[in-house]
């Protein structure tokens, strides 16, 4: 239901019909998602993985271990947005998490704003990476999503341990969920 808070923000259905894309979920799940705990506190969170980056897939893998639906894309998030993410946000009561480049986060933040969503968690991946950083970041992102969906507190900031440098641009772990005013660190 569109409300005032959703504005600028919300694109309603077109007169001539709603989208009817379906997702071949299995194709998108990195490794361990199916068979996960569907009663998880992290439902209904969707984790997205940019398959261009191993770190992004690791992040989504960790989310999948917690029973979270995952979706993959290869750099260009448009098709995933059209097919899965926009319909999910439009239906409401969902949160998105991911570890992506700044451009993808910018796109999703901008598009999600039309549905009343905002960035509620954002952490830049350390340039030198960190042992298990992606997995810890995933848990924090999931907690931020769960807090948005079900209430509760976000985990405190976490430390990281230096490891081998990665030949990758800056990556950001993030959560997009309802109520942008909860954001501790805006993405833009």
């Amino acid at each position: 239901m569109t409300n005032r808070r959703d504005f600028v923000r919300r694109l309603a259905l077109t007169t001539l019909g709603a989208p009817a894309f379906t997702t071949a979920l299995a194709r998108d799940v990195p490794r361990a998602a199916r068979g996960g705990n569907t009663s998880s506190r992290y439902q209904p969170v969707i984790a997205i993985a940019d398959r261009s980056f191993f770190a992004s897939v690791e992040f989504a893998d960790e989310a999948a271990r917690h029973g979270v639906d995952t979706r993959g894309f290869d750099g260009d998030v448009a098709a995933l947005w059209l097919r899965d993410l926009e319909p999910a946000l439009r239906s409401g009561g969902v949160a998105l998490v991911g570890l992506t480049g700044a451009g993808v986060l910018f796109c999703l933040e901008t598009l999600a704003r039309d549905h009343g969503y905002g960035v509620v968690f954002n952490a830049e991946r350390p340039q030198r990476g960190g042992s298990g950083w992606e997995r810890v970041a995933a848990r924090h992102a999931l907690e931020a999503g769960a807090a948005s969906l079900h209430g509760g507190r976000v985990l405190p900031p976490f430390e990281h341990v230096a490891r081998t440098p990665q030949p990758e641009p800056p990556l950001f772990a993030w959560t997009i969920a309802r109520d942008a005013r909860r954001a501790a660190a805006p993405a833009t």
């Binding site: 005032r4 261009s52 448009a78 097919r83 993808v104």
Partner: protein
């Protein structure tokens, strides 16, 4: 509490806001800082400075009648309005008004696809319909028509067309304003007008024949402040049987002359149907000091450049386009093009990708260059495209138009490269893009920042680019809101008679001067001279 627009009393503004609230209900009038700041230009070259433009409020109607009522209220109280459709035109100003204090009329909720005719290959849409919306609608309903999408594809059909944006597919579709057929417009007085055949209440050809009867005035509503367009028809491209994406490379700098001459002829003949881009793998290379020296010297010789290219073992120029149609026809077209270009020594031809339609969802996702197949994409923001780019910083487009002549392209890269060098910045020339068959747009992405020092450098560079190219007969075709007065100065024939005509028209159609004040440097009489 929102601040009233300049020249409007607090009392009148509050009264006007109450009337607007009555029109759209409380839910759809936005006056809090938190809401209104969503209309800020995230890529503003004036970010955080006193000249940055802000809205005072925003209102989001859903019907034409609401738009008319909003306009009437604005006239009553002298409230400046600034309509936006999807507001994602980030490199040209986004949804921020050109005149601070304007009330943004956000048309995003008017997002109905009113009709699509597969038989006639047309559609009629409201302002909030995005390329995503229309693409999804066509796919979902298995309609064998293509949109021609801007790139990135998150904007809207109407807003992009009215700003004269372009795309990549067939010649009848990729000039988005040229591909429109019929409008409905709320004039600044609140009166409703339909253009072309739409002025005949019974016409069955509103989206088929552009002109109707009498002067054709649709152009008045592009890049203008003469009305709020509430409906717009477009021609859609029939899905072809197949497509073949191809490219050519040529080794030497001066090869661009016969290459572009030939491509131009082939496009005018209809043999090459799509948008065609020529770019330089050499000039768009890495930040090699020798490359930077050549690019910023303002006149490195062909011999210098060719030595450099040879040492890099890469071709100097690349050309890319797409053939659409039956496979046999495509094959014949490609052979003909090869024959025409064969005179360029050491030219290389390459089939980049071939497609047979329709594509499955999986095939669509695998297309690397989606816009050329009418598929909206966000690949320009893709993770591999801008390593190190921060979302908090953006760019504005400098987009001079040049004749389809290789000599002009070379001269332009010399002139702009020198200006970038003088500014201590790396040239960002992308290439010559033939959206229109008889011109090239030579895009440069000029970076903007979230700090005044960086933006001051950007503004100085941008102004120098506009002036230098204007002086040489390469004016821009479209420009960020902050630079529209400078842009219009480049069209100053006969002491600015075109600009005077624009303002004469403004006085006639918008006597109270309430709509899109200052857009493309068109000011209402009461503000002329102040140029706020």
């Amino acid at each position: 509490m929102p601040k009233p627009p300049p020249g409007v009393s607090e009392r009148d503004f509050q009264t006007a806001l109450r009337e607007l609230e009555t029109i759209v209900t409380k839910e759809w009038l936005f006056t809090s800082d938190e809401d209104v700041l969503l209309y800020r230009d995230g890529y503003s070259p004036l970010w955080g400075e006193s000249e940055e433009r802000y809205a005072s409020a925003a209102v989001a109607p859903t019907t034409v009648e609401q738009v008319q009522a909003i306009v009437k209220t604005a006239n009553k109280y002298g409230i400046p309005l600034y309509p936006v459709s999807t507001g994602r035109n980030l490199t040209y100003g986004g949804s921020a008004p050109t005149y601070s204090g304007s009330v943004v009329v956000d048309l995003k909720r008017m997002n109905r696809i009113l009709s699509v005719s597969e038989r006639d290959k047309t559609c009629l849409v409201e302002p909030g319909v995005s390329y995503f919306d229309m693409y999804r609608y066509l796919r979902t309903n298995n309609i064998k028509l293509w949109i021609d999408t801007a790139d990135p594809g998150w904007g809207g059909l109407m807003g992009n067309a009215l700003d004269r944006g372009g795309g990549y597919t067939g010649v009848d579709y990729r000039d988005h304003f040229d591909a429109h057929c019929g409008m409905e417009v709320v004039l600044p007085t609140g009166e409703l007008v339909r253009t072309g055949m739409g002025a005949n209440p019974n016409a069955k050809t509103w989206q088929l024949f552009k002109y109707g009867m009498g002067p054709w005035i649709d152009g008045m509503f592009s890049q203008s402040s003469f009305g709020i367009v509430t409906k717009m028809g477009f021609w859609l491209m029939e899905e072809p049987e197949a497509a073949l994406q191809v490219s050519v490379t040529v080794p030497k700098r001066r090869d661009i002359v016969p290459l572009v001459d030939t491509l131009h002829s082939l496009m005018c003949a209809g043999t090459i149907p799509s948008q065609t881009t020529v770019s330089s793998p050499i000039m768009n290379g890495s930040a090699d000091p020798e490359l930077v020296r050549l690019r910023t010297s303002g006149g490195a010789s062909d011999a210098d450049w060719d030595r450099y290219a040879s040492a890099q073992n890469r071709p100097f120029w690349n050309g890319a386009w797409v053939f659409y149609g039956p496979p046999k026809v495509i094959a014949a077209q490609w052979e003909h093009v090869k024959d025409k270009l064969a005179g360029i020594a050491d030219i290389q031809f390459r089939d980049t990708a071939s497609y047979t339609f329709p594509l499955s969802d999986e095939q669509v996702e695998a297309v690397p260059d989606k816009a050329r197949l009418g598929i909206p994409s966000l690949n320009l923001f893709g993770s591999r495209n801008a390593p190190g780019a921060q979302p908090s910083e953006g760019h504005i487009d400098f987009s001079p138009m040049v004749a389809p002549h290789g000599e002009d392209l070379i001269a332009l890269t010399d002139v702009t490269g020198k200006l970038y060098g003088d500014a201590g910045m790396t040239p960002s020339f992308v290439g010559g893009m033939m959206f229109h068959p008889r011109t090239m747009i030579c895009f440069h992405a000029v970076p903007t920042f979230r700090n005044a020092d960086g933006n001051q450098r950007t503004r100085k560079l941008f102004e120098n680019l506009v002036r230098a190219c204007g002086d040489r007969g390469w004016p821009i075709y479209r420009i960020h809101a902050a630079f529209q007065p400078l842009g219009m100065q480049q069209f100053g024939f006969n002491g600015g008679s075109l600009h005077r005509l624009h303002e004469t028209l403004k006085d006639a159609v918008d006597p109270n001067g309430i709509l899109s004040i200052g857009r493309y440097d068109i000011w209402p009489k009461r503000l002329r001279g102040s140029r706020a």
